[in-house]
Amino acid sequence: MELDEIKQLMDLLKDTDVTELQVERDGAKIKIKREKFISSWEIPATAKHVTAPEVKEIKEEAPETRLLTVSSPIVGIFYRSPSPEAPSFVDAGSTVKKGQVLCIIEAMKLMNEIESDVDGTISKILVENGQPVEYGEPLFLIEPT
């Protein structure tokens, strides 16, 4: 198929409502797609346009899906250290072992030590020290090792 022929096809479509035309001849395949009155060679453009965000999305989602969320098992107050003067149990970036205490949730003078159920690295701490938390509220994101 010659370039002239393609041009002709595009011109032909210009004044119609046809938005997509596919021609197959001598093993060559051509697809013309029009959007919003603009005709163009969209095959390479579309391919790029469509796949780009997909790749990006995968890139963004991939780490998220590997992260584990530690949620609060009770209603109470979230504390990052055993006492106000003491250092935090963990910080963002801390390496944790399964069974290691991550925080305390206090309710009615019941100090609940919340343990990590995996080995990994603290990716994010989602609640500020001293804040009330609800049942099931996410507290930490952990990247398992």
């Binding site: 006492s83 069974g99 309710a107 009615m108 003078k109 100090m111 609940n112 030590e113 343990e115 001293g130």
Partner: protein, 259 residues
């Protein structure tokens, strides 16, 4: 002062079948938590003559001298995590009943479980649990009660806030007697907790409370809210009626009674 023999003779139930006596420790709760982790059974009791690192809520230091009660009880109930908070009310009820019957004092509970006599704090309970996902692995109920401490022994800044059995009764009390009574009452109240007779337990807490019906100030971190302590809910949380008429559920905070 704390003779093992004397105490063992007084133990009748399953709590305290195994008692570990320490002369001095940082915290009976820390020892108890370690032992519970290592497999010590339900009902194991740890008692110390003195305690250096006794903790109140959030690590506030608890004044520890000889002649007082510093003990922790290991409990391993098969309950959902969310029911664990009731253990702390349960322990409060048990201690107040035990102190009431052994000393004759009008001992009351300030929400959630401060032990008070005439508005002054005589003791406190700090429960610690270990939780893995939704499972309660164990609970350690730490009990601190000022028994034979003289009024003058309290630091001057807390003399108007704290008291002891001796300061109120002018009598030296038998620690083994009070301890054994606490264990007996804890056992009885634990049955109420376990057998889903929790309404009875909550009712008993209400009966012994000094908080309900009172105008109170609740300090939650940096926030202070005031209102009337109307009731507790089925999880033991405080229901506070605000001036606006709104009923607020409080899961944590320090309650001060207002006049």
């Amino acid at each position: 002062m704390l003779e093992t023999e004397g105490l063992h003779g007084l133990i009748t139930g399953s709590l305290g079948k195994e008692i570990i006596l320490l002369q001095d420790t940082d915290s009976t709760n820390t020892v108890a938590a370690r032992l519970a982790d290592e497999g010590s059974p339900h009902g194991t009791v740890i008692i110390a003559e003195t305690q250096r690192g006794g903790r109140g809520r959030l690590g506030r230091s608890w004044f520890s001298t000889k002649g007082n009660i510093y003990m922790s009880i290991i409990l391993k109930p098969a309950v959902k995590t969310e029911a664990a908070a009731l253990l702390t009310l349960m322990a409060g009820v048990a201690c107040v009943r035990a102190l009431g019957s052994t000393t004759g004092l009008d001992v009351r509970l300030k929400w959630p479980n401060d032990i008070v006599v005439a508005g002054k704090k005589m003791g406190g309970i700090l429960t610690e649990t270990k939780i893995l996902a939704d499972t309660l692995l164990f609970a350690v109920v730490g009990i601190g009660i000022n028994v034979n401490m003289q009024r003058e022994e309290f630091p001057s800044d807390i003399q108007s806030l704290a008291t002891s059995v001796k300061a109120e009764t002018n009598k030296t009390q038998s620690l083994p007697l009070i301890i054994s009574e606490i264990l007996k009452e804890t056992e009885a109240c634990y049955e109420l907790f376990r057998e889903n007779k929790r309404d009875t337990l909550l009712q008993e807490w209400r009966r012994l409370s000094s908080t309900l019906g009172k105008n109170v100030k609740v300090t939650i971190g940096k926030d202070i809210i005031t209102g009337i302590a109307e009731d507790i809910d089925d999880k033991g949380m405080l229901l506070l009626r605000l001036l606006s008429g709104e009923l607020k559920t409080i899961s944590s905070g320090d309650v001060t009674l207002l006049r």
